[in-house]
Amino acid sequence: MINREIIKSKRGDSEVLMPVVVSVVVMLFFFSLIFLGASDVAKGVAFYEKTYAQQIGLLIEKASPYSEISIDFKRGFEIAKKQGRNINELVKIDKKNNGVLVSLSNRGGYFMRIPYEYDIRFIPLPNENKMKIIILK
């Protein structure tokens, strides 16, 4: 359709060029909206909750007792601030279900089971954008 109209415009029908331009602009606007929306979803709360839960879960599974690990938690603090969450409750151990729960919003969070009986503490360090994980026996 566009090709046909461009050919028409070459014939001298300048009015035909306008709809093509409008159509292209609308199409670009539409695709930008879609990609912005998709990237927003991809970088949203659920994505980070899931990623942090997996990262922390695997780190704990790999770590030895009496060790201390710090992970970058910048985006987690940013999201939690926007969601009005208490930073001391972002990552915690769910003793009933034996796992780590990451909750950056008030609607819940993501949970990963850990096969070890460690005493684990999470210390948020928002000034350093880090979450400190202390693994005790």
Partner: protein, 178 residues
């Protein structure tokens, strides 16, 4: 009537039915992609089975020597290796420790839900794509089989074999507040 016709012609001048249906297809495609992106979880089971295997091996063997406590009758691997029994009873993780002494006598310690057959099948078919895809829904396993030294009741150092099979069926879960 003319006004309506003019208006229709105006809209169609910018967007044809083909354009609109193309936009709809793209929207649907993006929505489907986003749904699968959110719903999908990377499979960490193989990695977890590997880590669990390392942990159990590290807990039982020090510098190639089997911890003598393992040979005691009342040996409890859960408390000894800081394993959470409940998680194993819930069938999220699996382990099977098989120690064979120099005479071939075995001592086997296994978690409550046995998965030896699934693990062995899965490990044996790992090269075949078709069989692997069939075993995709099973727990993911990892095996370590190493010679270890141990001491008999007379204090003689002997060579035995330690086979550790571990598996994971752990999945990340979303928790919503009620």
């Amino acid at each position: 009537m003319n006004l309506v016709n003019d208006k229709k012609a105006g809209i169609e001048k910018y967007f044809s039915l083909v354009d609109l249906s193309m936009y709809l297809v793209v929207i649907l495609g993006v929505l489907v992609f986003m749904y699968f992106f959110i719903a999908s979880n990377p499979d960490l089971r193989e990695k977890e089975a590997n880590l669990l295997n390392d942990k159990i091996y590290g807990c039982l063997v020090k510098q190639g020597h089997l911890n003598q406590d393992f040979l005691n009758k009342d040996f409890d691997v859960y408390s000894y290796c800081d394993l959470n029994k409940q998680v194993f009873d819930e069938d999220r993780f699996y382990f099977r420790i098989d120690f064979k002494n120099s005479t071939g006598k075995s001592k086997i310690v296994e978690s409550s839900v046995p998965h030896k057959t699934e693990c062995e099948v899965q490990l044996s078919v790992s090269g075949s794509e078709e069989a692997s895809s069939k075993a995709e829904k099973w727990l993911k396993c990892f095996r370590t089989n190493k010679a270890v030294f141990y001491y008999d009741s007379n204090g003689n150092m002997l060579k035995g074999n330690l086979d550790i099979l571990t598996g994971s069926n752990n999945k990340i879960e979303s928790k919503f507040k009620e």
